[in-house]
Symmetry: C2
């Protein structure tokens, strides 16, 4: 890359500057939808070695795919849309990236500056004297920051600033580029200074925080780790894994933190989803006198409807930018550095080790003898299908609740959107995951695992056209769709028999051929019975897929995993404590955890 | 309806109140996507006689479909989404409704009030202490007004206020309902007072405006009408048609005003799209000494890239809420009333009548001998397929430019989104058109014409899953898709050979079977050659469709209608005058009219 920069002319177009910066930080793919106010900007992508443009079927799908891309490699997902009609279609996807702290850069091609100044009634605008920056205001509440490019003098610095903000604060940023600016010249020498990604740190506070945590661990009789989502989001996955191996105390996880730590290790205890999960797990973590809570997201769907009961006096919080030990708060830290320093500091330190709780095998489910597929049967088998280096993706719905308790092989990554919970997300995001796996395999030689995307028919319908992009790009996800004729997660929340929870009938055998899949028939697999399921998942082409595969699992409309049913049942019991505390009366009325 | 109100109990749930109000104003269908913060609200729909819920595949499609519904009957389109993830996905659709002044009511089911007050981390929220009203701020710039329901005492009045605003100001409004409020009791007697839809009028100013217009017409030697979009949006279509018949002066139309006036009348002159259209048309309207410009939208895509040249001293503007005659402005008027009063006032008034310009037949196109389909050949044949009472829908792209100059039969309605221009719109909107035609046929006995939706493969991909709703609802649109392997409108603007303008290959024969169309094979029709085209459009089942039909027309990737090519070519000629005036240098850089 450096060599390439030196061969550039003295001045380069701003559009090219942007893409070279994007490439410099290790990004290999730009997603998005072309539109007449971004075409010239897209042209410059083709002049950047190692960078490709992959067009999406629509902008929401692009935002989801960029979010998926941003979850895996530590590099942001990037996507491009056009003025108004494009950028607004993506707002919900970007909002999800803010909620779940995913690094995403949304580049918007705007109308040219003179037309903005003239308030010209260019298509995609609103009104007689349109304010072309109106849409910029729409996305303001759901982004970290934006580069509102206007003056070419400071445009490169603004681009650098928001890329930095995206990476160090983990969240979505915008770059608004009036399209006439994409050809404005900027000095290529600016590229020789890399963007500074060092987080703002108070080293002294950080060291004191680490000391305090070590002190707490020394004193503890039954310490444990409780790993949540923000560990991986803030790039501390490996540091966390190393800390876990150093400590070897029981490690609990959340829905959103799942598979951050190797689940095959004997110290891995399981998912603590408040009072929903196994009693032994609850007793284990709730009796601990020192719980290191890492990167916590205490949302209803990540906490069993706010039913976590960790002892207040036992809690040591390690958050992305602060640490709290016994009521003492240390600001100006970075979670990645703290975990790394902590692992070092613990060398030679004696820490008490209790055994992880032993979860007894579940009794046979009442429907265990069924010949057809049931939710009580499929999840452990889907987990057994996984291999190291796979990325498994669980849609918010029965999948999230069904798959999380199952143990994953080493080096598997688990992707869900449990807090934001926008259905349709997982399927479009799997495109970004695939591209990211491909890019990092190509670039860093990391193993090219499979993307195993598990979704439902109701959810998949929202973003189903993105399969066309997967096929045309030669990607090879294994997409598993639970066909239960609609929104089963909603049926168990409310309106079990209401027609609104039934979606149009879908004959999935036609999905791959619709987008001209070259081996459509061989790559569509359907199972109604357990026997069929076993045969499907034994196929060699699913073990090592070379093209997009689609597996349809037919399930009963009212069948749901026991954990979902239990969380919902708890709305009338323990789970309402929180609601009562906040003054909410009438627990049956709110879909906590739905 | 009144009888029904009297049979209601003294108090009814607020949710029911909302739907009864919606029903009272003639709406028969509520669109939307169920989500756990709107389910209880949806339940009440089933208790309103004559009101149905039709679920969409996703929320953007719902917004588009509601916009389509709102364009036909004079009644607003209504759709329901859920907190955050649902409402944000719809933002672009709503923004289009504001741009194009379409009546839409967007009902958002929010989290319960106590959870909002507690800033609880309920799924779909953002942050540790989430502000549940964050999303409300997102849509603020792209709506007319919102009912932010919180206090049940004023909730019915707030609902009534925004419904009134939607109807009289023509645009999208929001109703935010915390889901716990849907069951709160309100007096049913409130329903006995209908919502007041009378616009705020200054009768004196209105009368003076009409007098001034009559005066201008009396003096004119070559008066004409120039009919634009806001006539139909503000429910003045019939008044305009009556005025045209009274005056019998030449009537010109815009893209967006197309088919407001009967195009079979001898006084109908054609489309005036600035300097793009026929010279005779330009000379006709540009030489007129009195042009009544009705409901104008002077956007680039509606004015040939700002190349209208109507004489300033000849222009009489009749806008939705004001009239301007010879520089004198009259405020406080309503276009519908002005047109109606004008028609009355002209009784017995002598008005000069010139003949409409005679447009000479076009020379044979260079590709006239082609056996395969060409853009120079198809448009007049698609127009010839139309029948009275059809609604024909043209996607922004080659279709809009190809179909607008063709004359329509009487009583045909023409729907496009020429100013906002969000691709994917037309196909999802056709669902709303179908439902609206069905509702008004059922309710008022209006003829049940066909919905003929003409789109392209690039555009249709964005919203393609909505065909599932059409099929499952037993609707019967004729969907015509031009398959030219991507974004042809963009190819002619910029990047003809760039890969970003090519979309994934689509084999449309699998689309109807994917969503379990009962007669999929018979209802899919494909034409590559002109001969095949003729055979397809002669089929009896397309003349009187009973189910959803899909027609694929295969076209060359670079083939486009002459009017589009001409408008784009003009970017380097007459069309740049405007751009030069506003100081824009480098005309090749902006896709005016793309």
């Amino acid at each position: 890359m450096e060599a390439h920069v030196q061969s550039l002319p003295e001045n380069i177009p701003l559009g090219l500057y942007l893409w070279l910066r994007i490439r410099q930080i290790g990004i290999g793919t730009v997603l998005g939808v072309p539109g007449d106010f971004n075409l010239e900007l897209l042209d410059h992508i083709y002049n950047v070695p190692g960078l490709r443009f992959v067009g999406n079927a629509n902008e929401l799908n692009a935002a989801y795919a960029a979010d998926g891309y941003g979850r895996i490699n530590g590099t942001p997902g990037v996507f491009v849309t056009t003025h108004g009609v494009g950028e607004l279609s993506a707002v919900n996807g970007v909002s999800g990236s803010l909620c779940e702290r995913v690094k995403v850069i949304h580049v918007v091609g705007q109308t040219p500056r003179p037309l903005q100044q003239a308030k010209a009634m260019i298509h995609h605008s609103i009104g007689d004297q349109p304010d072309h920056q109106l849409y910029n205001k729409v996305s303001k509440p759901i982004r970290l920051t934006a580069a509102e490019l206007w003056d070419v003098e400071n445009a490169p610095a603004e681009i650098d600033r928001v890329i930095r903000e995206c990476v160090i604060s983990c969240g979505p940023v915008y770059i608004f580029m009036p399209i006439d600016m994409s050809s404005e010249p900027v000095p290529s020498s600016l590229l020789s200074t890399p963007i500074d990604f060092s987080p703002p740190i108070d080293s002294d506070a950080q060291n004191r925080a680490v000391e305090a945590i070590v002190g707490a661990l020394r004193e503890a009789r039954s310490p444990c780790l409780f790993v949540d989502a923000l560990v991986q989001r803030y790039d501390a996955r490996e540091d966390c894994a190393a800390l876990a191996k150093r400590l070897r105390v029981p490690v609990y996880s959340t829905h959103m933190g799942k598979a951050t730590v190797d689940e095959t290790e004997e110290f891995y205890a399981g998912i603590y989803h408040g009072q929903v999960d196994d009693k032994a797990i609850c007793e284990g973590i709730e009796s601990s006198d020192c719980v290191l809570v890492l990167g916590s997201v205490n949302a209803d769907t990540n906490s069993g409807g706010f039913t976590r009961k960790i002892r207040k006096d036992a809690e040591v919080q390690i958050n992305p930018n602060n640490v709290v030990v016994k009521g003492e708060r240390y600001d100006g830290i970075a979670i990645k550095q703290v975990l790394s320093l902590l692992e070092d500091a613990l060398q030679g330190v004696e820490v008490a080790r209790v055994k992880p709780p032993q979860v007894l095998p579940k009794p046979l489910p009442v429907d265990h003898a069924a010949k057809n597929l049931t939710q009580s049967w499929i999840w452990s088998r889907i987990a057994a299908f996984l291999k190291p280096h796979d990325v498994v993706m669980a849609e918010t719905g029965t999948t999230l609740f069904g798959l999380t308790p199952e143990r994953m092989p080493s080096d598997v990554r688990f992707v869900s959107q449990a807090y934001y919970g926008s259905i349709g997300y997982i399927f479009a995001a799997s495109l970004g995951i695939e591209l990211s796996l491909e890019d990092s395999h190509h670039e860093k030689g990391t193993p090219r695992g499979r993307t195993v995307c598990v979704t439902g028919d109701g959810s998949m319908a929202l973003t189903i056209q993105e399969v066309g992009t997967m096929i045309s790009q030669g990607l090879k996800p294994v997409v598993v769709v639970l066909n239960n004729k609609g929104y089963t997660v909603e049926r168990v929340i409310h309106g079990a028999l209401q027609p609104y929870n039934t979606t149009p009938k879908t004959n999935y055998s036609h999905l791959l051929p619709l987008f001209a899949h070259p081996q459509a028939d061989q790559c569509f697999h359907k199972a109604v019975t357990k026997e069929e399921f076993v045969k499907v998942f034994e196929k060699a082409e699913l073990a090592d897929p070379q093209v997009t595969h689609l597996v349809e699992l037919v399930l009963d409309a009212m069948d749901s995993p026991w954990r979902l049913t239990k969380q919902l049942a708890m709305r009338g019991e323990a789970g309402v404590k929180y609601l009562t505390d906040v003054g909410f009366i009438g627990p049956g009325k709110v879909g906590i955890g739905g």
